[in-house]
């Protein structure tokens, strides 16, 4: 009975898949590190400890450090409302959460320029009050928040939906308050999915290019995040330096993939538990 393919078909397909993956994923990844180290270790280190590069690292850490916790608070609140309650307009809310995924990052930057830029809604008022959002840190944070905002909510919602509300109701009946229920019952049940969402959100926050590029103003040493710094150095034909800085972000991507894999195994375990309980 033919319920699997002949060996030659299997190996041809495996070969095709691996060739495609090598060409489009593996080679670019290796290239980043190869080009970064091509001119030697000294050039590599010099490109990273240069003041502009260090200030880009700092700005990237600050921007991610603000946007990820904001999106974490939003993700938990949205998931709590959507999965623990039955209310009108729930599907609309779900669609709105996904919206940033389907908007071009360039447009994500543009919308804040239209609101806070000099020609924008609040432009003149902000100039009069000496406030700066566009071409400054707040604009970079806003753009980053926009593009990364679905990640945590999207990880939490399916899991919390599968887990249901029986445990929380039991805790309530036994006299627990709202925050007590969240910290003692819900959080332990969702912690891996939460961490998973945070990691994905962080990776995108640190690597976002298009949206941040529109609002940053590209002021060297001041409003350049790591991806923008890479662009500037690259356009100055300092390829080894550009790839050296890029290798930092590529390493972050590799760590992200590794953590993702480890956590995925745990989340699968929790989901199995949840579906066993739910029957």
């Amino acid at each position: 009975m033919a319920t699997t393919e002949p060996a030659w078909v299997r190996w041809t397909l495996i070969g095709a898949a691996l060739a495609f993956m090598t060409l489009f994923l593996f080679v670019p990844l290796v290239t980043v590190f190869y080009e970064a180290l091509k001119k030697g270790w000294d050039v590599y280190v010099a490109a990273i400890v240069e003041p502009d590069a260090l200030s880009a690292v700092k700005l990237t850490l600050i921007a991610a450090g603000i946007s990820v916790p904001l999106n974490l608070a939003f993700g938990v609140a949205a998931a709590w409302a959507i999965t623990k309650f039955d209310f009108r307009g729930k599907n609309l809310l779900l669609t709105l959460i996904d919206l940033p995924f389907s908007v071009s990052p360039v447009i994500a930057g543009l919308i804040y320029v239209l609101v806070f830029g000099l020609q924008g809604w609040f432009g003149e008022w902000m100039r009069d009050h000496d406030l700066k959002i566009i071409f400054a840190l707040p604009g970079i944070v806003l753009a980053t928040v926009f593009v990364t905002f679905p990640f945590i909510a999207r990880e939490l919602i399916p899991l919390m939906q599968a887990q249901g509300i029986e445990q929380e109701e039991a805790a309530r009946v036994l006299g627990a308050g709202g925050w007590q229920i969240f910290w003692r019952v819900t959080l332990p049940n969702i912690k891996w999915a939460l961490l998973y969402g945070v990691i994905l959100c962080n990776a995108r926050a640190m690597g976002e290019f298009g949206a941040v590029s529109v609002v940053s103003g590209h002021i060297r040493g001041q409003t350049n995040t790591l991806p923008l710094h890479i662009e500037i150095v690259y356009n100055e034909y300092q390829f080894a330096a550009a790839f050296a800085v890029a290798s930092l972000l590529a390493s972050l991507a590799l760590v992200t993939l590794l953590l993702k894999y480890v956590i995925e195994q745990r989340v699968k375990g929790q989901q199995r538990q949840a579906s066993d309980r739910g029957g």
Binding site: A16, V27, V32, A78, A81, F85, F87, V106, I107, A250
Partner: protein
Amino acid sequence: MSRTGGLFSRALLRRHTVLPGFDLALGFALLYISLIVLIPLSAVFLKTFTLSWAQFFDTVTTPRVVASYRLTFGASFAAALLNAFFGLIVAWVLVRYRFPGKRVVDALVDLPFALPTAVAGIALTAIYAQNGLIGQYLPFKVSYTPLGVWVALVFIGLPFVVRTLQPVLEDVSRELEEAAATLGASRWQTFSKVIFPIVAPALLTGSALAFARALGEYGSVIFIAGNMPMVSEITPLLIITKLEQYDYAGATAIAVVMLVASFVMLLAINLLQAWARKRQGGL
């Protein structure tokens, strides 16, 4: 109990509940979405109203802009097509076969999600430049041509197809295949007549997701594209060019066209997913 709670509980809740926190959670979520997404996004549409219909139409149909649509939509479609083909093979191989290094390959599928687009952009440019690792063996130019745009869009689209297909392929019941084999179907017949129709909606959904993502992609494309007007200039770049010339209304007009395209894709994808769920549920 919660029925006596705040505004949202009274207006929206469909069922009585003992759980607290609905007003706080929904209130915060709605406030956040309004401030970050809805109000700024509405600025795009309000800004275009400062243009007359004729001005708007002229801005979004100049030859340079039309050339950029052709490139953006064409390259996105071609990339989604290649990803549909190889994505199906990759997903099939990962679900059905065992081979050394499978776990690493599986984890690597997500690389385009994790690797910043600017990093991918400069790496692909280096590889496909005329003196690059692969570029030097090719008889034609890839970097700084529309072909380069296509390469970058293939890179960012791959995980969408594979990750949408994998769970569906895992769910295809072995009994169906065995039944087909017992009834005398060849392996190819089983695949094309039994398995493929089951996974087709997911394949279409994954490709549509890849296409939608490619339409708005900026970071990985601008390095490899060469950005020559009329030839290798993508639409998101034109928005940035207009902004740099302080032509806010022009930038916004093009953005509206892109947004409408995105929303149409979002709707199409939702319909596809509903169809896919129905198909799976029927089996």
